[in-house]
Subunit: 281 residues, 2 copies
Amino acid sequence: MSTIELVSEHGCYGGVQRFYKHMSRETRGTMKFSVYVPPQARAAKVPVLYYLSGLTCTEETFPIKAHAQQGASELGLMLVAPDTSPREPRLPGDADSWDFGQGAGFYVDATQAPWSTNYRMYSYVTRELPEVVAANLPANTEATGIFGHSMGGHGALTLALRNPTLYKSVSAFAPIAAPMQCPWGKKAFTNYLGENREAWREHDATELVARQPFPGPILIDQGTSDQFLVEQLLPEKFRAAAAQSGQKLNLRMQPGYDHGYYFMQTFMADHLRHHAAALKK
Amino acid sequence: MSTIELVSEHGCYGGVQRFYKHMSRETRGTMKFSVYVPPQARAAKVPVLYYLSGLTCTEETFPIKAHAQQGASELGLMLVAPDTSPREPRLPGDADSWDFGQGAGFYVDATQAPWSTNYRMYSYVTRELPEVVAANLPANTEATGIFGHSMGGHGALTLALRNPTLYKSVSAFAPIAAPMQCPWGKKAFTNYLGENREAWREHDATELVARQPFPGPILIDQGTSDQFLVEQLLPEKFRAAAAQSGQKLNLRMQPGYDHGYYFMQTFMADHLRHHAAALKK
């Protein structure tokens, strides 16, 4: 495994907020990620909670905007937030859209040229990054959870549903809950995965949860004033599929909240407690 | 008074985070500011706490990075954060430095051309903005406090020391505590106020506190790993002057913390409680 390089670190709520970069085997370029290490990690390895960001975000968005460090410090959780796509090498057209390419990896392994060589965010997040974390940080990798927002909520749900032994807990804020049925998902899946919709089903949370529930409860918060709710997010599709398979789901519609980080920070403590309840058993 | 325009609003911790703009009489251009309105304001007017940002910041920096809304929601405080300088009209050289001109108004009324016509942040913050807030928001203006960071810590201390009947509480994070004695302050004061150092004394917290203490206690947090501590911030000068005049001061040196918002968010709840104790009497 390649070595990781500490870019910066900052004292925060008795622990430390760090930024790292490393050469990625999966994406074949430099990848960055952020880690909040809580004070409890000085005494023993702590549970690790991955956060996947939404469209246009980077590894900095979560630590700056989500206000999660306070709760993570109190509960003793490590927070790991990767970037949302490879950033090098640059590919033709990778910056033409804000909802595809750079900043929009959708947490899949692309099968279509030219994306398939580098856009391997599924394998990066589920395999490579956990190895990097285990080798370099005081993480109890037996206690791993995952959550995310919007595109990253899609990522958290699909990665957890496909890897229920790796992830012991999952939650999401305003996830793209049925990407095969919305414009963002159709655009990304067509370009990354090709025209064959059968291949898309492994990356659609609604399809996955209908087939096999996650072993633990799923918490989802969704603002009712979210500008993307009706066209892009479709949590009702996920709710119906969860009911079909018996998935335990707490989908909370939050009146007056929109799609942004002011919404997310409001309910952050609830999500951290949801994960701590599963990870600190 | 000119009308204010709501730029955007976002549900946040049961209240609402808003962004406004308005035509300013003092700066003769459009000014922006942010307001967090806590849920308690639906029932009655609430105390109002002004936050002054540091170099390069805007009215967005505080609501995005400082993690103050949670505590303000619990305590029932309104948070008002103005921009750090006029943004129009543009003046020759206003973007040549990151520590002077745009984003660096230093909370003074400039007396030197070409700055004196628009760079009137002292009068904007102490007179015009409180009028705008009183006319448009559910603020109990009898209960007004002020705090800030770095250049904004300088602003909070000097504005409070000069206006002890307007402000009932004051605190600062890593303030420029003796600007007449540091490079940032000398550069700004020379350009905004001219070569006569006598005029600078009204804008130097150390000079002011030596002359006349603030009626209430002052809370200051300062990280010991702050890269600007030794050359620019000089809290020990302020401590010595406060001791001279009998100012009640809680200057807390925080080991391992730097100059940024990860430091500030860590101690934000303490500062909000400090203000609430004075403003909710």
